[in-house]
């Protein structure tokens, strides 16, 4: 993993829709927040467009802490996307 890379994780139905549980990629140009990363992911193709479609309830964690749309993202971060939690 290089200094410019992001580690992305996907869980539950989100993992199934995007067809992978994790990936490492270079920080995309113009991505600085959870919202801009979500927008970038949406543009990647069918599974991603469906998983990150507006109105679909997707939650996010940055470096294992719950995050909101405005949470900053930088190279080296671990960013996870998942449905609202249903444990207990």
């Amino acid at each position: 993993m290089s200094a410019r890379s992001l580690h992305l994780l996907y869980f539950a139905w989100l993992r199934e829709r995007v067809g992978r549980s994790e990936e490492t990629l270079d920080l995309p140009e113009g991505v600085a927040t959870v919202a801009s990363l979500t927008e970038w992911l949406r543009g990647r193709g069918d599974g991603f467009a469906a998983a990150f479609a507006p109105g679909v309830p997707v939650r996010c964690a940055v470096n294992q802490e719950f995050a909101g749309p405005d949470t900053p993202i930088a190279a080296g971060d671990e960013v996870a996307f998942f449905p609202p939690v249903t444990g207990g």
């Binding site: 539950a12 802490e65 998942f82 609202p84 939690v85 249903t86 444990g87 207990g88």
Partner: protein, 152 residues
């Protein structure tokens, strides 16, 4: 002080109680909640439930929830255990124990811990029905409302 564990195997309720209270004479009560797999969902029989989680974040989230309980009540110890993997109806999923000098703190903290665990720890349930179909469980508004009672 809190004991937090994520595991596939069943937990030993008696053993956990004993571990929490061993050598302690200052504890006046221990609150306990055990969540178990129900055999139906929305009126449909289920045959199994699979629990997925986010390794690393799960343990951090559970420790943060326990720390929050310890800051709100004078607890003398608490235990949070959550199972993952495939579970069948009747099986225990989650264990919460909270020990305090007096029962109200023990009971309130137990309720708080399970309410927050359900809404703030990264676990997801998938149900398998008798006809072989599977469905991810949707988050319940009632759980959010229960957790919101403890806001502030």
């Amino acid at each position: 002080m809190a004991r937090v564990r994520v595991q596939t195997e069943a937990f030993d309720l008696g053993g956990e109680f004993a571990a929490l209270t061993a050598g302690r004479t200052d504890i006046g009560g221990v609150g306990c909640f055990v969540g178990t797999v129900r055999d139906s969902a929305d009126g449909r029989p289920i045959t199994a439930m699979t629990l997925e989680h986010y390794p690393g974040m799960t343990e951090r989230a559970m420790a943060a929830i326990a720390a929050q309980a310890e800051s709100r009540w004078d607890l003398l110890g608490c235990t949070l255990m959550h199972r993952i993997g495939e579970l069948h109806p009747g099986a225990p999923i989650v264990l919460v124990l909270a020990a305090a000098a007096h029962r109200q703190a023990a009971l309130d903290a137990t309720e708080f811990l399970i309410d927050w665990l359900k809404t703030r720890a990264p676990f997801w349930k998938k149900e398998r029905f008798a006809d072989g179909t599977e469905k991810w469980v949707a988050a319940r508004t009632e759980d959010d409302q229960a957790a919101a009672r403890w806001a502030g």
